[in-house]
């Protein structure tokens, strides 16, 4: 029986990079931090708030996201959107994700159980 701790670490490792991919995909439609958090978790990407908020700023610093303040609603919200640069980066990442999936499938078929 695999210990819960070991399993959790490996799942965490596996999921880590996908948060960036998921955020870049989701932010093709502009959104603010909390709404994005909800959207991601609705689609099966549970992310911790204390990971996502700093991550959005970091992606913005790297030029992968652009942002705009919306002051029309009850409280000022910063809306993020995937930039052109972010889009081309996202395509590379999605290609790689697909390649990983293909490789894994091939490997599974090639190995007899």
């Amino acid at each position: 029986m695999v210990s819960e701790d070991v399993l959790r670490t490996h799942l965490q490792e596996l999921r880590r990079g996908t948060v960036v991919v998921a955020s870049l995909v989701a932010l093709r439609r502009p959104d603010y931090g909390y709404a994005l958090l909800q959207r991601l978790s609705d689609h099966g990407f549970p992310v911790d708030a204390n990971t996502l908020y700093p991550l959005l700023r970091r992606l913005e610093d790297q030029g992968l996201l652009t942002s705009e303040w919306n002051t029309e609603e009850s409280r000022p919200r910063k809306f993020y959107r995937t930039s052109d640069e972010g889009e081309s980066m996202l395509n590379r990442l999605l290609d790689d994700l697909a390649a990983v999936q293909t490789s894994i499938t091939g490997l599974i078929q090639g190995v007899e159980r």
Partner: protein, 316 residues
């Protein structure tokens, strides 16, 4: 207003770079309010919701470090091994060197055995200073993200696979230190024993008459023993020739010592005038016998132990 949220924001923003503090503050406050609202909409009361949301966000210092992209480690994996190697290298000889120098200087000023204390203290201080400053330097390099050109590892750096040493270095060093201390004690007790005469002059423990032959002879034997230890380390295993030499050296030291002790020629007669316990012939005989028996016991034990090791290492 000094709500939990205010306190949380203040704690987080404290260690975020100033130029982006206001923006992060506005955004984080809005996010927190959103999260609280998400919970109160579900029917929770506001105070509990606030508490839970802030708990979920976790330690503000961790969050701030994530915003600032700051590493939560003193020395990271890039530099850790280099730091460790330098630390070991520097600690391996500098404290011992400084300690020895201090001891020698203090001894030269006539402190006798009192010189060892300052030597040890100096060595420990130097060790602490080295560890501290080296670590500070590496912590700064880690934080400034200075690109230090670390040489790439190559297979040529591989050390030779360690051969199992028959004679451990630590044993050799320990033996040599013991021998050197014994050699040093013989002249030391002559000039600085802890016994002084009626008018404050120094009284040697051992009979000064022995300096005409026996003490120099014993020092010679001890010096030969030091050479023996070094040769043994170079050969790296016990051989029967080494065992034979060891027997001769042990006997050359122990037999004269026991003989001098039994014939009551070891102690300085002047001591008897000062210490009444030594003045009684019966006590002196007892002491002489104890020294002789002790020396014999040590030699016998040492030779049995050595014979055992020699047999193991010559048959293997």
């Amino acid at each position: 207003m000094n709500t939990l949220t205010d306190r949380y924001l203040a704690a987080t923003l404290r260690s975020v770079p100033t130029q982006r503090r206001d923006e992060i503050a506005t955004e984080l406050r809005a996010s927190i309010d959103d999260m609280i609202e998400g919970r109160t909409d579900g029917g929770q009361d506001a105070a509990t919701a606030e508490r839970e949301v802030l708990t979920e966000l976790g330690n503000p210092d961790v969050l701030a470090a994530r915003y600032a992209d700051r590493r939560l480690q003193l020395i990271g994996p890039t530099y850790y091994l280099l730091w460790l190697r330098l630390l070991k290298l520097l600690l391996s000889f500098i404290p011992a060197l400084v300690g020895t120098i201090v001891t020698v200087v203090e001894a030269a000023e006539g402190k006798g055995f009192g010189a060892i204390g300052p030597g040890i203290v100096a060595a420990m201080q130097v060790a602490v200073q080295i560890a501290f400053w080296l670590t500070v330097t590496f912590a700064i390099i880690e934080r400034t993200q200075t690109a230090v050109d670390l040489p790439e590892w190559t297979v040529d750096q591989l050390p030779d696979a360690p051969a199992r040493r028959g004679i451990p270095l630590a044993d050799t060093i320990a033996s040599v230190i013991m021998l050197v201390l014994t050699i040093a004690y013989l002249p030391l007790q002559h000039y600085h024993s802890w016994v002084s005469g009626t008018d404050g002059e120094n009284i040697a423990i051992l009979d000064p008459a022995l300096w005409s032959f026996w003490l120099p002879a014993l020092i010679g034997v001890l010096a030969l023993s030091v050479i023996f230890e070094v040769v043994k380390y170079r050969i790296d295993r016990w051989t029967w020739a080494l065992f034979g030499t060891k027997v001769l050296l042990d006997l050359a030291f122990a037999v004269p010592l026991a003989w001098l002790a039994l014939s009551d020629r070891l102690l300085n007669p002047a001591l008897a005038k000062r210490l009444s316990w030594v003045a009684e012939a019966e006590n002196r005989e007892g002491l002489g016998l104890a020294i002789a028996v002790g020396a014999a016991a040590i030699v016998v034990w040492d030779l049995i132990d050595t014979a055992r090791k020699t047999r193991q290492q010559t048959t293997a």
